[in-house]
Symmetry: C2
Subunit: 140 residues, 2 copies
C-alpha cells in the first residue's frame, strides 16, 4: 500500500476581523488567492505570497455559529518566519509605513525584525545584516 | 529600489515539551531538519515534510528564561491544512495508530479528518472521498 501523498498546503489563523487582517497581510505582500464561506456560517480567505507555495488561511467564525469561540490570547502560536534579501530596506519600509514593530535585534551578522498582526501574532523577518555599520541590540 | 525578495520559510509553534511534539509530528511524516539553542536559553527544532518546502518550527522556552510565558490556551491558531491523496487509507492509519482524532467529516465528495497535537492544536487532513460507499457526517 505505502504512505499516501500528503502535501502541507496552509497554516490557518483565527482572526477577530477579516478585512483588517487582509489589509495588514497585504502590506507584507500577501494577496487573496481564494475565499469562501463555510457551511456553518464562518468565512475564510486564502492568502498567497510570491516565492512560497504555502498559503495563509484566515478564518472568521461569527458569534453564534458552530465553531465560534470567545477570543482569548494563548501561547500556542509563536511566529511566522520570513527570510528577506535586503532586510535593512525592508525594516526601513516597515517603519516608514508605520507597521507595528515589536522587536528589532540588530546583530553583527543578522538582523531580526518582528511585527505583530492585528490579532497579536508575531511575524519575524530575518536576513543578513549590512556589514558596514556598527551594530547594537535594540528592542522597539 | 523595488520590493525585497521575501520568502515565507516557516510557521512556529510554542510547545510545552519538545520530545513529545517531535514524536507526534514524526507520526505525520515530519523529520528533524535542523535544531539549535537560542541565546536566551530556549530550544528550537525545524521539522520538514516531503512534498512541501514550508517548515514547522517547534520552540521551547524554559521557565525562567527571557521569552518564557506561562502556557495558556488561546484562539489565535486555528489549524494546519494537509491535502492527502488517499484520505481513506490515511484516516484508517491515523485510527489504527491511535492518533487523537477530534473530528471526522465524511461528505459526499470530500473527507476531512482532524487530529490534535500534544498542545491542543488541530491538524486538518482533507481529500476526495471514496465514491463507492454511503456517506454520513461523523464527529468522533
Amino acid at each position: 500500500v505505502g504512505v499516501p501523498k500528503i502535501r502541507w498546503i496552509y497554516t490557518g489563523l483565527r482572526v477577530r476581523e477579516l478585512p483588517r487582517s487582509i489589509r495588514f497581510y497585504a502590506k507584507l505582500g500577501f494577496r487573496i488567492a481564494k475565499r469562501g464561506r463555510m457551511e456553518h456560517g464562518g468565512s475564510w480567505v486564502e492568502l498567497a505570497i510570491p516565492h512560497s507555495t504555502h498559503r495563509l488561511e484566515l478564518n472568521y467564525y461569527p458569534p453564534g455559529t458552530r465553531f465560534y469561540e470567545r477570543i482569548s490570547t494563548g501561547t500556542e502560536f509563536d511566529h511566522f518566519g520570513f527570510e528577506v534579501d535586503g532586510i535593512e530596506e525592508w525594516a526601513e519600509s516597515l517603519r516608514r509605513r508605520r507597521l507595528p514593530i515589536v522587536a528589532d535585534f540588530d546583530g553583527t551578522t543578522h538582523r531580526l525584525v518582528y511585527v505583530r498582526d492585528p490579532d497579536g501574532n508575531w511575524i519575524e523577518f530575518y536576513g543578513s545584516a549590512a556589514p558596514t555599520r556598527g551594530r547594537r541590540r535594540r528592542v522597539a
